[in-house]
Symmetry: C2
Subunit: 348 residues, 2 copies
């Protein structure tokens, strides 16, 4: 009769069961488990043994309620089915799990309203949030960040910690690549009007174009989906450019499909550059030249920054801004500019 087996009731064990088993107070059990130094090592070991024996699992709800911390982090993405976010999500998930946090993933459906209401909701049930490609205004985002710890991804608002993917500089690399292939008339296929990264990229691109003395025009905006690629392709053909830099790979892949349908050869008649190097960019037809960056790592960094904000323990200042490098991955969708006499472009 060494152990006073509490009849193994169906209900999962609580600290009170452990306390009863060890003959100590529940608070002592709580301390033994969360503030080990605060308790005699022998008592602690007894408690730990009892906890193991009962297969004790702390109730996160109760812990959250009393301590104020939920152990959960919200991750908001505009569209779960966009492959770009897969790697990001995987990165956040890995890093969160490693730190013992739970990930609350929400698809905000590209809607600022859903995004705002989700944040309000999460304010109680999460310790912080990672917001990818927010559709909110700067002010709204700043206000939300004041209410709960937040890290944005691909959204630069002063005062809000952010992980930025350096697509503007990659865009310049893409331009150089196209220029070196002889392209003179180039289009930027813009993303959603509310996308800040599209705007930033266009700014960088038009400046770089000016320096290099080539003409870059902006087409769009287009929704970041493959379906939008058809309209983008038609617009590009109509505008008489010989190369396009697309907002993202989804649009670029959609363009490839449309151009193929129309009998316009890529890259002979038209070169296409995508962005993000998503799943599929390497096996579409032709394989897509695109701007790649370590997205999974971006997710991990975002979480690290958030957790540093949540647990401002030792260590120096919290980074409030992190820029992920980007590079151009050249594949089959870009090639030499067609010679002026070349047939095929529907322009006059």
């Amino acid at each position: 009769m060494a152990t006073t087996q509490p009849a193994a009731v169906d209900r999962p064990p609580t600290i009170h069961d452990i306390a009863a088993l060890c003959g100590v107070a529940a608070s002592t059990v709580s301390r033994a488990l969360s503030t080990p130094d605060r308790v005699n090592i022998r008592t602690r070991q007894r408690i730990e043994a009892a906890a193991a024996q009962l297969n004790y699992i702390p109730n996160s709800q109760a812990k959250a309620l009393s301590s104020g911390r939920t152990g959960a982090v919200g991750v908001l993405v505009p569209d779960i089915t966009n492959p770009f976010y897969f790697d990001l999500i995987r990165g956040t998930q890995l890093q969160l799990k490693a730190a013992g946090y739970t990930q609350l993933l929400v698809d905000t459906e590209e809607s600022d309203e859903v995004e705002a209401s989700t944040m309000e909701q999460l304010r109680k049930s999460a310790d912080g949030i990672v917001v990818a490609a927010s559709r909110l205004s700067d002010d709204a985002l700043l206000a939300a960040a004041a209410k709960m710890p937040m890290v944005t991804v691909n959204r630069d608002v002063p005062g809000v910690p952010a992980v930025l993917i350096d697509t503007p500089s990659a865009t310049s690399q893409a331009l150089d690549h196209l220029v070196s292939l002889g392209h003179k008339r180039i289009a930027y296929i813009a993303g959603p009007a509310t996308s800040q990264s599209s705007t930033r990229r266009w700014t960088a691109l038009s400046e770089a174009a000016k320096e290099r003395g080539v003409e870059v025009r902006r087409l769009g905006p287009f929704a970041p989906k493959t379906q939008s690629g058809a309209a983008a392709a038609d617009a590009a053909v109509h505008s008489g450019v010989t190369a396009c830099i697309a907002f993202n790979d989804l649009i670029a892949i959609g363009m490839l499909q449309r151009l193929r349908e129309r009998g316009i050869r890529v890259p002979q008649d038209m070169s296409i550059v995508g962005c993000d190097d998503i799943f599929g960019a390497d096996f579409c037809n032709p394989p897509l030249t695109t701007m790649a960056s370590p997205i999974e790592q971006a997710g991990r960094v975002a979480v690290s920054m958030l957790l540093a904000q949540l647990n401002p323990l030792a260590g120096g200042g919290t980074r409030s801004r992190s820029v992920m490098p980007t590079h151009l991955t050249v594949r089959g969708s870009t090639g030499p500019a067609p010679t002026p006499a070349a047939p095929g472009l529907g322009t006059q």
Copy 2:
């Protein structure tokens, strides 16, 4: 001085704030909000007005603690980055949100241990779980289902409610398609050994093959990733078959890439059929013939079944099994069998 503004403290409002504002007890507020019939309509309206004025949001942690229900549902997938799950996740997310539930998405990393520990963890923080393509044994799954409401996807265990995707019948359609194209020697590229759907599909396929008098051999197992496609392609070529039915599109796409590298033409030298019709299947090179099914709908159905289980209110018996239809989508990766004299296959 109509309202006694409680100085708008920083802390978010609780039912006690509302109670004070209305001059009633906290319990009355609780009832007014959750059991409206239990409270006088005038009182209720006053409370509702006060709640709106204070912008009250109930604390889900506290609610969960006292009521025992968390309002959250766990969704377990083996690999978030597998595009197959995107649509599933989106389906569950939509249906859950519509019902006012929160989705807890977890990537179990194709590991039965992670899966089991996640379930244990979720037992406290979720009301139920949806488990896609479980890697657990039947017994373990059954035991877990006894402890918390569960619906599986693509996993058939007696006693556990499930949404099944009818790939076995689609596999027969695929076989018919290949047979009608003249293929006689066909390979099934198997998925992970622990995948029940791979096993079920193989069973259906070998039976159908017997009926039709064609030879189908099994190759594998292979991990469900594009990288595995190379080995699968090599094995298929070596085995001398003229057509392959792959466990899923990831493997199939990987095979397409490898065959291209090796100069083996698809579909002239080898036909390939995938499964799932994932993102990318339509734009790979050549576009993939594949078995398609309404995955998003599968996610919705799974959630509906789970919620019916959680709230066994009115309405007839809870469905415990739902089969999603599947059909073959023919694209460019399948074609007539090569004539016996045709060159190209590295077999003797």
